[in-house]
């Protein structure tokens, strides 16, 4: 079978892994080869996560700096490329302080536990064609279940710190993340409906077509679903403007006020890895994952993911923080009804996908948006005047 060079570029990582495994298979029993296959995928993910996190911090600082008309870090190495390593060394050598009245065991466990779900989500992210670590047939369900575990370690840390700011941050996290979990899950439903699968791989394959450009975002329900999913993802990983759990100006540092050194770094790492995986899942569900013309599949995937991360950073550079009641209201009174309408739209699209469906969708969306905005209008009481008694 003759294959073009593009195929080999596309499959470079897959081929490399298969080559290593076949090499091992020559003089090792089969069960070791199976273990080696798992180990290779695991090691790649365990290295990829922290490295991506380190360079995301650099990217974020650079982009935020440019938005604020200054250079970002540019002292350590060329363009500040070694800055994350310097930060890492700093974090390692810092003193680890545990508050006197803290619940020591839970305080220690929280930062360790938070990294686990962040890394576990990497399992179902399709990095490229045939590059999903575990092709679970309930991949999306797995993602939703595991990502919602993140609330627990954050609350553990905040409770164990025995600090009022931490606890306030933890309470806010619980409220925020549970609320945003619901519209996020419902925003995913249209993609599942259209691809008729929970497997991330199958969802990507369902978006294939001419030039590999039949992405779900090019449909009315896709746009709405994507925007809702992305906003909820931003809220899920506690990034501005939804960073109430660690609101610096109100809560010192929120749930990680009492953490220092490597424990703090683990919280930080989990946050950035979550941002990456959520962007990756958003790209998978609505932007066609690794589908795209001309370029290798893994390049398409990382390009889309980093584009979304840049948008997250852009949000951070632009918006001030939400007020708590606005935050909750936005999730429950605006996003949730909109996701339900979106699911209806998807059903409509399933039966008639043509120009009239576009028009109908826009009409329904417009009307529902208008009604939701009207219903969500903040109540401003009339100013009362007290005329001076003469």
């Amino acid at each position: 079978m003759i294959r073009s060079w593009e195929f080999y570029v596309d499959m470079i990582f897959v081929t490399a892994k298969a080559w290593i495994l076949s090499l091992l298979g020559r003089f090792l029993p089969d069960w070791i080869v199976v273990l080696a296959s798992i180990t290779i995928s695991g090691v790649v993910i365990l290295c990829l996560g922290p490295v991506i996190m380190m360079y995301l911090t650099l990217l974020e600082r650079k982009v935020i700096g440019r938005i604020q008309n200054r250079y970002g870090p540019n002292r350590v190495g060329k363009w500040g490329l070694l800055q994350p390593i310097a930060d890492g060394i700093k974090m390692f050598t810092k003193e680890d302080i545990v508050p006197a009245n803290a619940d020591k065991i839970v305080h220690l466990l929280a930062p360790i536990v938070i990294v686990v779900p962040a890394l576990m989500i990497f399992l179902v992210v399709p990095f490229g064609e045939r590059m999903t670590a575990v092709n679970l047939n309930i991949g999306l369900l797995f993602f939703i279940a595991v990502s919602s575990v993140t609330i627990l370690p954050i609350f553990m840390g905040s409770w164990a710190s025995r600090n009022k700011y931490s606890l306030l941050g933890g309470m806010r996290t619980a409220a925020q993340m549970i609320s945003y979990e619901i519209p996020m899950t419902l925003a995913v439903v249209p993609a599942i409906m259209m691809s008729q699968s929970l497997s991330t791989n199958t969802i990507v394959l369902a978006q294939t077509g001419d030039f590999d450009l039949h992405w779900f975002i090019f449909t009315p329900w896709g746009i709405v679903g994507f925007i809702i999913f992305f906003l909820c993802a931003t809220a899920e990983c506690n990034r501005p403007p939804f960073d109430l759990p660690e609101a610096e100006s109100e809560l010192v540092a929120g749930f990680h006020t009492e953490y220092s050194g490597m424990k703090f770094a683990l919280f930080y790492m989990a946050e950035y890895m979550n941002a990456f995986t959520l962007c990756g899942i958003a790209a998978t569900l609505f932007l066609g994952g690794w589908q795209g013309p001309f370029l290798p599949s893994w390049l398409w995937f990382f390009g889309k993911t980093f584009l979304l991360i840049c948008v997250m950073i852009w949000f951070r550079g632009t918006f001030p923080r939400f007020r708590v009641d606005h935050l909750m209201g936005f999730a429950w009174k605006f996003l949730l009804p909109l996701t339900l309408i979106n699911i209806l739209l998807t059903a409509l699209w399933q039966f008639t996908s043509n120009l009239t469906a576009w028009l109908w969708s826009i009409l329904i969306l417009g009307i529902s948006l208008w009604i939701l905005v009207k219903l969500n209008r903040t109540f401003v009481p009339e100013k009362r005047h007290y005329p001076l008694e003469s």
Binding site: R66, I67, N69, R70, W314, G317, T318, F319
Partner: protein, 198 residues
């Protein structure tokens, strides 16, 4: 007004800032950071920092006559002067000791204003460090003295004005000396600036 337009506008503002930071000059939306050790902002001519002493051609021809006016006028009292004595114990109108404690100096420039001999001026050098405070920031005469060329370089307008003034007064003196063939020996009470050769 469409719902959500404000959000969109805000994002466009930051996007514009992001893009212009790569292409524009600092005045129209570019980066205005000056990366200090490598880049420096131009020091304006009238910038003043710590005082220094001017000498004319050689360090022996120092303009200062150790009159002590600046020492008395200095608000934080950071100047210390001792006049040099010759072998016979007579004052020589030259400073033997001229110390300025940069740690005390408050950069007011009063010494520059009161000096009748145009000898003390404020410098442009602002990178002054010392390992310890008490002795390290005291500058002695040798380090305080800088040539007139240096003065011309850092503050050209003031330096040339002062050079002209000094030249004019010297010419006047020469003319006066030529007119009066036999000047009376006691010349005290007149204009103070009188440089004695030898």
């Amino acid at each position: 007004m469409i719902f959500g337009m404000g959000v969109f506008k805000g994002m466009m503002v930051t996007l514009k800032n992001f893009l212009t930071s790569y292409v524009c000059k600092p005045d129209n939306g570019g980066i205005f950071t000056v990366q200090y050790p490598e880049e420096r902002e131009k020091v304006i001519e009238n910038f003043r920092n710590f005082p220094f002493l001017v000498y004319d051609e050689t360090p022996e021809k120092i303009r200062c006559v150790a009159c002590g006016i600046c020492e008395r006028e200095c608000p934080p009292k950071c100047i210390h002067i001792e006049m040099a004595l010759d072998a016979a114990g007579k004052p020589t109108r030259k400073p033997a000791v001229f110390d300025v404690d940069y740690g005390l100096c408050m950069n007011c420039g009063m010494c520059e204003d009161v000096c009748p001999f145009d000898s003390i001026f404020m410098d442009h050098a602002f990178e002054v460090t010392a390992p310890e405070q008490s002795e390290g920031l005291v500058r002695h005469k040798e380090r305080l003295m800088k040539s007139n060329e240096y003065f011309q370089k850092v503050r050209p307008t003031l330096a040339s004005a002062i050079d002209q003034k000094r030249k004019a007064s010297e010419d006047k003196k020469k003319a006066a000396a030529a007119q009066a063939p036999a000047p009376p020996p006691p010349s005290a009470g007149g204009p103070p600036a009188k440089q004695e050769p030898k």
